[in-house]
Amino acid sequence: MAGVVGSTSLLLRTARAFCGPQAAAISKLGSTTQARNYGTDRSLARYGGRSTVTMLPGAGIGPEMMGHLKEVFRYAGVPVDFEEINVDTSGTDAASMSGAITSIRRNGVAIKGNIESRSNQPGTMSHNVELRNQLDLFAYVLHCRSHPTVPTRHPEIDIVIVRQNTEGEYAMMEHENVPGVIESLKVITLSNCERLARFTFDYALEQGRKKVTAIHKANIMKLSDGLFLETMKRVAKSYPSLEFSGMIVDNCCMQMVSRPEQFDVMVMPNLYGTVVSNVACGLAGGPGIMSGKNYGAKYAVFEPGTRNTGSAMVGKNIANPLAMLNAGCDMLGHLGLHQHEQLIRQAVERAICERITTPDAGGNQTTTNVVQFIIDDIKENTRAAR
């Protein structure tokens, strides 16, 4: 449908065709050295050179990590103001979540911890799911990389996981027709599959990746995962430079624990996404370092990669702050503040290389020690720059 005139116009046209005019923004995929423009046309709140970003500390170790993030940002002189919103987790106040969502719509970007939904009552929506659905954050990107100094059985992992973020098994539509018989609906739509497919292949091209693997269970769920796989195959034809293949999810998990180096970019529906991303993070050395990015046509939300509340580690000063700091860096990249992003990323990389990490990543430092090391590194580099 679109001729290959120039990559930008092609992307613009395909985006408009599938997502409507508002989502033309998604098509402008800059390289890693330019601002990533998802939603910048319409939604970033920037005034006087300072951006406003919504911050949702969430539960568990979230507030602690956000505190460290703010401190690091202060030392790095990041021109970002945080609009902090504490969501009521007991589930009795429906308005608090909508307040948070309105704020993100206003600011365009958010950073969040894991919001607990303490009531697991059927009928009430999980707060995290609600956020993703209302803001239409249809893609979740997690980059899993093993580091030489973080203990892992697999030193050669470098996988990008793209996960459908809004539908599939997380549609949260359940009903009990007959007492004792419950049906839960898994919904897959063509439009979301196509959007995700284009996003994945464009992202893979932009990041210089070679291979995309679609993870599915289409041999059993022939219509739903079948639709997903067919769409992926069809869209793959428009990207002949990328190698595409499909793999069944159980085989994929088995391959991942024996030879994870074979995977490059993996794309999948929602539930398999949670399994595969947790397996990949576990293989690469734990949930403490990776960060994830939720992308929508208009908004972007950044968070630690494996969405754990970490309630066992609250107040003990042993939680790993690097996941949240990496999420902060992703956010800075999205806002176009690349100098600050590089400053903090370098400090984080140095901490990892010199094993100044918390126990889960193989070090023996406390959280505050790690944060202090990073701040000291930033201070040194900013002093040198002056």
Binding site: E174, T274, V275, N278
Partner: protein, 355 residues
């Protein structure tokens, strides 16, 4: 193996056994399967003969035939055989691609109402993987859940797939899991779920597990989210003992655990139903090496050992299992997939020599 479990489940079966002479042989349905199936089945038969196992094999073919109503199905003779013997050993089956064939494995499952799939995963001494000290059992609900096969296209471009969870099925598999744990000296049962998202369906499954846990206070019970289990499993699998879960999570986790110990080529599997049990090897048919005497019969052999324990021939089962592990540990006769170069027949003969 799960002697007390199968005592309750197979009461009529045992009465039938008692009426026979104590030296009488039991008949077991054997489904050799496709590809490497026939050679590994005969390897198992040879080993059983060497060990003096009192079992008669009744071989059946489950290739689908067109029934009188035009629909492809398992031949009636196969169904009658398994119903009569109540125990089956199955090799790998090839599901032909194309319309009109239901997955054969699925058909067998439905036919004999095999509601629980048990897969013990233990690190094999002598076949080293990156994960040591794995010793867990995954118990997966086998009849409903996400694999109910109920799907519709609501409007063009919108597809829904229904995940069905019922209380009776969840209770059944929960009770089986706790009974299995008790009968096999296991100390902890972990229920794996995603009840924060699928509140009604996984919530029901979880409630059933909780109810059964209360009735079994001597077994430790914990509930974990699926993502937490995945994360921890690949970092430290020794923290898990018995895992019980609905169909899809079970499928993924049991294959994940099989990968931890060396893959499907060395993993046994048993399917338990109300009327009997079928033990099977879960690897593929490997058509590329079929007929060349290169196949590894370990998976089918270990499943046959599970079957012996089920039939309360535990001593014989233990002897055969020990012989098999000894041969692998010694390393002289290992098949290609375990890193050696022995032929299937050499491996089989080595085990027979040990018995």
């Amino acid at each position: 193996m799960a002697s007390s479990v199968f005592r309750t489940l197979t009461a009529p079966l045992r009465h039938a056994g008692r009426r026979q002479l104590s030296t009488a042989k039991r008949t077991v349905t054997l489904i050799p399967g496709d590809g490497i199936g026939p050679e590994i089945s005969s390897a198992v038969q040879q080993i059983f003969a060497s060990a003096g196992v009192p079992v008669d094999w009744e071989s059946v073919d489950v290739t689908p035939v067109r029934g009188p109503d035009g629909i492809f199905g398992i031949p009636q003779s196969a169904i009658d055989s398994v119903n009569k013997n109540k125990i089956g050993l199955k090799g790998p089956l090839m599901t032909p691609v194309g319309k009109g064939h239901r997955s054969l494995n699925l058909a067998l499952r439905k036919e004999f109402n095999l509601y629980a799939n048990v897969r013990p995963c233990r690190s094999i001494d002598g076949y080293e993987t990156l994960y040591k000290d794995v010793d867990l059992v995954t118990i997966r609900e086998n009849t409903e859940g996400e694999y109910s096969g109920i799907e519709h296209e609501i409007v063009p471009g919108v597809v829904q797939s229904i995940k069905l969870i019922t209380e009776p099925a969840s209770m059944r598999v929960a009770e089986f899991a706790f009974n299995y744990a008790k009968a096999n000296g296991r100390s902890k049962v972990t229920a794996v779920h995603k009840a924060n998202i699928m509140r009604l369906s996984d919530g029901t499954f979880l409630n059933c597990c909780r109810v059964v846990a209360e009735q079994n206070p001597d077994i430790k019970f914990e509930e974990r989210y699926l993502d937490t289990v995945c994360l921890n499993m690949v970092q430290d699998p020794s923290q898990y003992d018995v895992l019980v879960m609905p169909n899809l999570y079970g499928d993924i986790l049991s294959d994940l655990c099989a990968g931890l110990v060396g893959g499907l080529g060395v993993t046994p599997s048993g399917n338990v139903g109300m009327g009997g049990a079928i033990f099977e090897s879960v690897h593929g048919t490997a058509p590329d090496i079929a007929g060349q005497d290169l196949a590894n019969p370990t998976a089918l052999l270990l499943s046959a050992v599970m079957m012996l324990r089920h039939m309360e021939l535990t001593d014989l089962g233990d002897r055969i299992e020990t012989a098999c592990f000894d041969v692998i540990r010694e390393g002289r006769y290992r098949t290609g997939d375990l890193g050696g170069s022995a032929k299937c027949s050499e491996f089989t003969n080595a085990i027979c020599d040990k018995l």
